[in-house]
Subunit: 318 residues, 2 copies
């Protein structure tokens, strides 16, 4: 009898990566495949930068910067200092160690190797046993319409620190994008036991994945449950602009509104105990709510939430 | 009356850069233009690397590593360590600070800016007042025929540490290369007071410059004297494979043989006091010899030799 469980997690940056680490760690019988958002990817200083892939990879390898939410622990900054002296752009910070991964990826991509294979080479080298899969091998770029005009994602997120007011978000290239080959395979793989939407920002971390043609429909059609985890705790985003964007995009403000925003392709929704008053309205939309502690400060927190999510998915399957 | 002197120096890496610094420092009335060998340039890890340009720039900016002969002082190596952990190539060492210049140059070149302009941007940022000019804006690549087969320059020089036996050297692309616009201008500029061939390796640092069509002839035709400085001291190369290459290429072994190797396009030859016995045979070839102390350990040494070279050129002009 095979007790292994195949979990596929859709994931953005820091919040999502924390749950991904929990899913990868709490039970040796979990086979975890992580689909990373690449809508934040961009070219900077001639380098191909994939912030969410790297945050997930560094988190799983145990070398992530625990404070910043991006980059590596014990980082040094000689490159950035020297670049500043040479008059180079310094608004996007690349540490010396982080740069190694970015130079390596850029060189491999330029040699004609696709992003999926490049990511696999990197995770192998970092000793990561979970599968880390870009959502697509073709470029999808998140662009935000704001009161500062149209902004590329990193301009909005890093350079302007999310201060512009957003009126709409588009994912350039998504109409003609395909899921990466491995993601495509998993979307119709009968052995997948659950799809998990990590507690990432729905609008800028999960929507780019869902915007790729067929993804949303295939998730809805797959017999395995799709479980989303709320990125809100007590109605507020832990980190990042989720609450601010909800207000600007006029999609409500509560965990219940997040569940409704995802809508009918999800089967279950995990929300924090503090948001339990919204369970009734979530249930009324046909989505099964489940209350847990969604705060993930320690590795124990991450493992506990991961266990709750996988058990809840098991209940939804039964 | 204009007492300024216009000196054009043809220069390779470490030995040449030392004299270039002397020429740039010994007299405020010297206008120095340095033509850098780019035959050593190569693409590595997807970056456009110009070792001689950088050694000269770092030396003139006072930030060169005083021991290594390449790279920057007070360098850190986080990038290289992280790259090793990721399985990247580490035989060519790029420090964290050095990387800033290489990433910046690569990005500027990719945006369509030529190597001359890129070099000018970099030297401006480093506060260098002398002109630093690549020999050409088109690619010329030094390739060595050896007992290990044909080797790209850095394979021979860095990876194999000059151990292969060299039978011939070619400069790929030189037949169709043009001198950079500014070099071309200087080659026929009547205001140039002297051309200086720095004490670099004749075969791999100076020959690539001379291999560009018209350069050698224009140097010979220019009314200003051309003065070469011996890279040998007491018949031995200070650093690098000059003596080894002389033996392998069968061009003798002495300072006199270097003068004869350059031949009739040079007017004067500065050699070390220890090599003074070769003055007679040099004079017999029609080249004026001048004995000096060619050792350049300190900045004072470099300034003293630079002063000797410029005074000697003045004597040749008179």
């Amino acid at each position: 009898m095979n007790l292994r469980k195949n979990i596929v997690a859709l994931c953005g940056g820091v919040g999502g990566a924390k749950l991904a680490l929990g899913l990868a760690s709490f039970d040796a019988d979990i086979d975890l495949s992580i689909i990373a958002n690449t809508g934040d990817d961009f070219e900077h200083l001639g380098l191909n930068i994939s912030p969410d892939i790297d945050t997930i990879a560094y988190t799983l390898a145990g070398i992530a910067n625990p404070e910043a939410g991006w980059g590596r622990a014990d980082e040094t900054w000689s490159f950035m200092d020297a670049l500043a002296d040479l008059g180079g752009e310094t608004w996007f910070r690349l540490g010396d160690k982080d740069l190694a991964l970015n130079v390596l990826r850029t060189n491999l991509l330029r040699s004609g190797i696709g992003l999926s294979e490049v990511t696999s080479i990197i995770t192998d080298q970092l000793g990561i046993s979970s599968e880390l899969i870009p959502m697509s091998d073709t470029d999808v770029r998140t662009v935000l319409q704001t009161d500062h005009g149209a902004l590329d994602f990193q301009d909005y997120f890093v350079r302007l620190q999310c201060t512009p007011v957003v009126s709409s978000i588009e994912f350039k290239g998504s109409d003609n994008a395909k899921p990466s080959a491995r993601f495509e395979e998993l979307l119709t793989d009968p052995d997948v036991d659950a799809f998990v939407i990590c507690p990432s920002n729905p609008f800028i971390s999960i929507d780019p994945i869902l915007a790729i043609p067929t993804v949303r429909a295939k998730l809805a059609d797959h017999p395995a449950p799709v479980v989303a985890i709320s990125p809100l705790i007590g109605g507020k985003s832990v980190k990042g602009p989720t609450s601010k964007l909800m207000s600007e995009l006029d999609v409500g403000s509560s965990a219940g509104d997040i569940a409704k925003y995802y809508g009918d392709f999800i089967d279950g929704f995990v929300l924090d105990h503090r948001d339990s008053p919204f369970c009734v309205e979530i249930e009324q939309t046909g989505i099964q709510p489940f209350c847990s502690n969604v705060v993930m400060s320690t590795l124990d927190d991450r493992c506990r939430l991961a266990r709750d999510v996988v058990r809840f998915a098991g209940v939804l399957t039964a």
